[in-house]
Assembly symmetry: C2
Homo-oligomer: 395 residues x 2
């Protein structure tokens, strides 16, 4: 299969440079911590309270004054009597039961684990080993100091992060706004009224992964006027069109964008996906023109649109696929002059073999691929035994 040859097909590196230069990060908004899972921090966060906020028991046991345990041993136990929990200055050799994480009475400075003491008949305990001050205690601020940096700007908040912020007294925070995307599906010439393409669930899944707040999706006619009109409506954070990017008679996506804005690049040296385009509407909204064929749509999204959406939302622009250095168990052939995506299958812990180029097998390459390799423009492929970076579809 050969690609339509565009007059001046851009290198992938130039397309990426265009995205990085023309797709700015959205502004911040203040949100409640309860809504912050998966969001991106707009500002560094500092601890509003120390952690723990006061001295705490680090384990289940009895709190006491460490110096009073001095000299305790198996043959010379020291007895402690139970003090009431709220006693402010109990007599010498007093102790009080505490739970891990619970507050330490102000007069106590150590906690002895419950299974290292011997309860006695009077409701007290015998200690058979001396302990040191601060032992069994999580001191105030020992986990996080007050005003310490909790996490830097740009952090994508995971479940542990949210818990840390809750514990550190953060109730609201400033997060990058999530991009809202307009997606226009160009109806193929012979499609029925109820036409919904397989690219719809594909793009919904990918955009959700990349942190969009929502997609407004519409099927539009494959005419220059209809596309131009769609590109000019509303104020989305990004526009994606699907289909009509090629050299066929009804391929009007690029021409429509040129008419109502700026067509920056059309024809990019990627395979599949070579008919993709990039540009801006008159209002400055970034537009990604995706090809209609499923595999081309998939890879043009992954190579271009996904990066644009992640940048817009302040996320790491790089691929969210786990990457690993592996060895090619069989030779892999690639055309020079185009960045090619080839599906690979895991052979064993160290090696992969090519299953099919997505350009040749379309979305069908997914049937046997565990992941993929990216063969850059200058590459003719890789010899058996050579090392490649494999991106895996699943961890």
């Amino acid at each position: 299969m050969t690609a339509p040859e565009f007059a001046a097909r851009s290198a992938l590196a130039d397309a990426i440079a265009w995205i990085d230069g023309h797709v700015p990060r959205l502004a911040a908004e203040e949100i409640a911590l309860a809504k912050a899972a998966g969001r991106v921090l707009a500002q560094e966060l500092r601890a509003a309270t120390a952690l723990p906020p006061s001295d705490r028991a680090a384990l289940d046991g009895i709190a006491l004054r460490a110096e009073e345990t001095s000299g305790a041993g198996a043959y010379s136990p020291v007895s402690f009597r139970a003090a009431t929990a709220d006693a402010s200055a109990p007599p010498p050799f007093s102790a009080v039961p505490v739970s891990a994480g619970g507050p330490l009475p102000p007069w106590a400075d150590a906690v002895v684990a419950i299974d290292q003491v011997q309860p006695d008949a009077s409701g007290g305990w015998e200690i058979i080993e001396g302990t040191a001050a601060a032992s069994g205690v999580a001191a105030a601020g020992s986990h996080v100091r007050r005003d310490a940096t909790l996490m830097p700007a740009g952090r994508e908040l995971g479940p542990g992060d949210i818990a840390l912020l809750a514990a550190a007294g953060i109730a609201r925070l400033s997060a990058i706004r999530r991009p809202g995307v307009h997606c226009f599906l160009l109806r193929p010439a012979n499609a029925s009224d109820g036409f919904v393409d397989a690219s719809v669930p594909l793009l919904q899944g990918l955009m959700r992964r990349d942190g969009i707040v929502g997609i407004s999706r519409q099927v539009i006619a494959r005419s220059r006027a209809a596309i131009a009109n769609a590109l000019s409506r509303g104020a989305p954070d990004l526009i994606v069109t699907v289909g009509g990017t090629g050299r066929g008679e009804t391929d009007e996506a690029a021409a429509a964008l040129r008419e109502v804005g700026q067509l920056a690049l059309h024809g990019i040296a990627i395979s599949p996906g070579e008919t993709a385009g990039l540009g801006l509407t008159a209002a400055g909204v970034p537009v990604v023109l995706l090809p209609g064929a499923l595999a081309a749509c998939f890879w043009a999204y992954e190579l271009l649109a996904g990066r644009a959406i992640r940048r817009r939302g302040g996320r790491n622009p790089e691929w969210p696929y786990p990457a690993r250095e592996m060895v090619l168990a069989r030779k892999l052939v690639s055309s020079i002059g185009v960045t090619e995506i080839c599906g690979v299958r895991r052979v064993d812990d160290r090696s992969v073999e090519p299953v099919a180029s997505f350009a040749e097998a379309g979305i069908g390459a997914l049937t046997r691929a565990d992941g993929f390799v990216v063969l850059p423009e200058g590459s003719e492929g890789g010899a058996e035994g050579s090392r490649v970076t494999v991106y895996f579809f699943r961890p």
Copy 2:
């Protein structure tokens, strides 16, 4: 900080073996493809139709009979006239414009790219290079043969998978049911009525990642009767309790489970998280007892509960964190006899340094950690320069 020493603390490997032996996969249910993103296939899927279903143009161009281009050259162009798209047997030297992915007329057997032909004044084209039959054509079944295996049972469906299934004519499929979890939060002795712990957003985020359908969450009193009652209610797929697992006076979670079911393990050699427990209710529902302290709750979830939930939902039981072999830039010390989780910070592309053990710094270890290492029971840590597997919190 020392851990409460349980009479017989189980090895992590035994806890994992118990989970693998006692937490069965849920049954399958039939769902629509539109709802299948992120779900787990219960059965292998085969293609209901071939892909492409019929011969298609692989590129934008003109469809023609390849043999009629024989002898064409820059100095001996061959002229083709435009046939109507629905002509069933047009005269020799006819051609018709086709779009990439569009059907090929039955009389044509090749497609020449639009930018490799020369339009002429009569609405036809001049061909200046011969082409071979099947060139520029994606033959029926060349991407996926009818009845070919599309994907195996157990596959977690990504966006590309859904698109492939849509293209291959799959409208409904059989997926493993998603686990519904009951989560009981044991109210600490001195908590207010409106008590909500930081463990709630933590567990919600983690369980969502692990594919649950929903959590029924309830704060209950820290008494054996209240816990026993909670464990006996309803028919969830899994129960998680938070708090009350230690040796303190109000630590009744394990005793309550022993009362109304089977306490299989209590006290596991993990740090943090050593007071966690595992068991079954009388009705056979798997129960994970999580410690209340935030870091202990986090890691007992990751080491035990997460695996149980992923197994229940038919998912890969292994951690969803990307793992990489890295070098220790500084010595890391660990206690023997316990599986310890230590936060590490990325120093450069190849190496990490320890920042804090989660047992020492609690959830505060997240402030500086990019990921973590797992130091197994038999390990005393690692020397500077030694290789460790690092699990990264973010890709």
